[in-house]
């Protein structure tokens, strides 16, 4: 098993953990954290491919991760603000109770 494969397996496992969290947990905050985990797994892939890719000196992966981090920060801020707004509306943060958007 090459190092790149190891890294990719690591990130796949992380991604799946995040997915399971999103699917299983009902608390909106934990769902959000699961999403963050999935995002991190993606970042991990970027770094891995940058490290073992064809042109590491170009640094595309690193640059991408910088932007992804910024976007993650924005996403977390807005997401948690949404959670707080949700809490104000229905006095809990169970995602299953938030069904007012149904068609």
């Amino acid at each position: 098993m090459s190092p790149l494969q190891a890294c990719l397996l690591f990130s796949s496992a992380l991604f799946s953990l995040g997915l399971i969290a999103v699917l299983v947990r009902s608390n909106a905050i934990l769902v959000l954290l699961g999403v963050e985990l999935m995002l991190n797994a993606a970042n991990l892939n970027f770094i891995a491919f940058w490290r073992y890719g064809p042109a590491p000196a170009e640094g595309h992966g690193v640059v991408f991760v910088v932007f992804a981090l910024a976007v993650a920060a924005a996403e977390a801020a807005v997401g948690l603000a949404l959670v707080i707004a949700l809490h104000r509306h229905q006095r809990n943060v169970r995602l299953g109770d938030a069904r007012r958007l149904h068609g």
């Binding site: 997915l19 999103v22 699917l23 009902s26 769902v31 995602l95 299953g96 938030a98 069904r99 007012r100 958007l101 149904h102 068609g103």
Partner: protein
């Protein structure tokens, strides 16, 4: 050091920019606004003096700077600036007198809460006037002309809370607009026939030989030369601005504005514009003189109107009781003089008189303002009197102004400029009448000015305001003194022995000898007028505000007619006003019955068409769309069932979709 002609725009731009800045200055800092206005006008004065220096260095050379405003099709609208003795001299005069009037306003409007706006308007006025004087294009001149009209409207109606002021402002605006309509038509015609509105353009301008020749050569309706027709149209504008009969009615009413405004409008700027325009386009007006069979010469009309105005104004001024109104009609009369001079060909004499008149009339108005200020806004001369001791500076300077206006010989400027006009009228070949009228006006002018002086300053106070009067502050009296000095000194620029001014303005001017007899006659007339006035009013001043005017005792009917200004306003109200009302009523009736009927018929037709269209629409078209809409709604409702609002469900679908997709790819890749 002379002003480069390319920088001429700075002269009008400075006050205009000051006006813009004052507009945004906080209202609680009126001092800042006034300072800005004064500083800008002082800068303009300095630049105008520099420009005058450049223009005097070579009076025959006309410095022009032309630029393209915008291009239309193949042609272009070009504007420009012109530095010649006429424009720069008047610009210096306007800026100088304006500066003094601004200074005076500092004192006069010190307690007015809207003093800031006042200085804003004043600056706009001065900027527009300076632009008018220095324009090398009739179009640019017209723009500034209208700006002057706007500013005068704002200033006359400055105390718009008073119905009389608002009324006067409207009247001034509308009356001058009637004249401006003629001016605009003349400009359009001129542009149409010469293709340019530039005054001087290296041989192609409208005031240069080529254009003048073609204009004088063509004839139009009634055998009039085109130049005559255009000239008369332009003169309409000048008559409106300069208050010539029959468009003089706005000028006396304009006294409703603050007194500095009266001084500015009646002395230096607005009324000067008309005379200036006549002087400016004089070659155009004079182009038809060479035609032997012209039915009428433009200049003859000018001279006639001027003569009528001069006599009319002087006569009416005799019977007015408002100090400012006397001066206003005096202005009407003096403007008539100037027009008379221009009409008889002596436009340099007209400008000479314009200059001297600007000084002493500004002096008289500011003096009147000082009197009004000192007596708590008492303007009725019947309730004034005895102010000589209480207002020494005002009284002395007012007397100087009076003597200059009346034409007291030798020392005062009015004498010399009037003399030049009389001389020109005397030499006019076409008719002796204007000369005789002018002589009569001379005597009347001396009479009513003596009356005014005697009523206001001699005798005993006849009202509360006059009894408690006290001299105005230095900021108001200093401009008076300066103007008094100028009223004396300016006359020596154009004496018959040394006609510097005339020669500077018109290099072809030739002094004619033999005016001594004429001068003696006019001196005798002035003396007679002053003596008569003194006999009537000065020797036995009236004792009481309610005592009747001596003139009213002797010739009551004439006095009543003159006091009513010969019924001009009433005449207008009875004829033009009523005609206008009738026309409006007719238009109204036409509108209601005929046009409305047509419109209603059309509407009925439209409504019927709509009815038909609606039936088709609802029965035929909508059926199909309704069916389609129902189908869409049903399918949408079915699809909406999958939108559970459950975020988890969505992720579930995502995960399932991903797995399916990946499986497909993997299996497909394996195959």
């Amino acid at each position: 050091m002379h002003l480069p002609v390319q920088l001429t725009w700075l002269i009008p731009a400075l006050p205009a920019a000051a006006a813009a800045m004052i507009a945004v200055v906080p209202a609680r800092r009126p001092g800042l606004g006034a300072g800005l206005a004064l500083a800008a006008l002082a800068g303009s004065l300095l630049l105008a003096v520099l420009a005058l220096g450049g223009a005097l260095a070579d009076p025959a050379a006309r410095l022009t700077h032309t630029f393209t405003w915008f291009a239309v099709g193949h042609g272009a609208i070009r504007l420009g600036w012109l530095l010649d003795p006429l424009g720069t001299l008047l610009a210096v005069m306007v800026a100088a007198v304006g500066l003094l009037i601004f200074t005076f306003s500092l004192g006069y409007l010190r307690d007015d809460p809207r003093a800031k706006q006042f200085f804003c308007f004043l600056s706009l006025f001065a900027g527009a006037m300076l632009g008018l004087l220095l324009a090398n294009s009739l179009l640019l001149l017209f723009v500034c002309w209208e700006l002057v009209g706007l500013a005068s409207y704002l200033l006359i109606g400055f105390w718009f809370q008073r119905p009389a002021a608002a009324q006067a402002a409207r009247k001034a605006f509308i009356t001058t607009r009637i004249g401006d309509l003629g001016l605009l038509l003349g400009l359009v015609w001129l542009q149409d026939s010469t293709g340019t509105l530039l005054l001087f353009d290296g041989g192609r301008g409208v005031l240069e030989a080529e254009a003048l020749g073609s204009l004088a050569g063509a004839t139009t309706v009634g055998g009039l030369a085109v130049s005559t027709a255009i000239g008369l149209l332009l003169f309409c504008g000048a008559a409106g601005k300069s208050g010539q009969v029959p468009l003089h009615v706005w000028l006396p009413d304009a006294m409703e504005g603050p007194t500095p405004v009266s001084a500015l409008i009646h002395a230096a700027t607005m009324v000067a514009a008309g005379v200036f325009l006549v002087a400016r386009v004089f070659p155009l007006l004079a182009a038809d003189l060479a035609l032997p069979h012209a039915p009428v010469h433009a200049l003859s009309v000018v001279a006639t109107v001027g003569a009528v105005t001069a006599l009319f104004g002087a006569a009416v001024a005799v019977a007015q009781d408002d100090i400012k109104r006397v001066l206003a009609f005096s202005t009407v009369s003096q403007l008539g003089y100037m027009m008379l001079a221009a009409g008889t060909g002596a436009w340099t004499a007209a400008i000479f008189h314009l200059l001297t008149h600007a000084c002493f009339k500004a002096l008289l108005f500011l003096g009147a303002g000082s009197v009004i200020h000192a007596t708590h806004h008492e303007q009725d001369i019947r309730r004034l009197g005895g102010l000589r001791g209480r207002l020494p500076v005002t009284g002395a300077t007012f007397a100087v102004g009076m003597m200059a206006l009346a034409g007291v010989p030798f020392l005062f400027s009015g004498f010399w400029s009037k003399e030049a006009i009389l001389h020109a009228a005397h030499g006019w070949a076409i008719s002796p009448l204007p000369f005789l009228v002018a002589l009569a006006a001379v005597a009347l002018t001396a009479f009513y000015m003596t009356r005014l002086l005697a009523e206001v300053f001699a005798g005993a106070p006849r009202g509360h305001g006059a009894e408690t009067a006290h001299e105005s502050p230095a900021v108001m009296t200093v401009p008076l003194v300066v103007l008094a000095l100028a009223s004396v000194g300016l006359g020596f620029l154009g004496t018959p022995w040394w006609p510097w001014l005339q020669r500077t303005l018109d290099p072809t001017f030739k002094a004619e000898a033999g005016g001594a007899g004429l001068m003696a006659v006019s001196i005798a007339l002035v003396a007679a007028g002053i003596l008569a006035g003194w006999a009537r009013y000065g020797r036995h001043p009236r004792s009481d505000a309610r005592a009747p005017d001596p003139l009213a005792r002797s010739v009551p009917r004439l006095h009543r007619a003159l006091a009513a200004r010969l019924g001009c306003d009433e005449l207008y109200a009875a004829t033009l006003g009523r005609l206008n009302a009738a026309l409006a009523a007719a238009a109204n009736a036409l509108d209601r019955s005929v046009w409305d009927g047509c419109v209603r018929l059309l509407a009925r037709l439209g409504a019927y068409a709509g009815l038909v269209s609606r039936e088709t629409d609802e029965e035929v078209l909508n059926g199909g769309f309704n069916a389609a809409g129902d189908g869409l709604r049903a399918s949408g409702r079915a699809y909406a069932r999958t939108q559970t609002g459950d975020a988890h469900g969505y992720v579930w679908m995502l995960a399932a979709g991903f797995v399916l997709l990946a499986l497909a790819v993997l299996l497909g890749g394996a195959r």
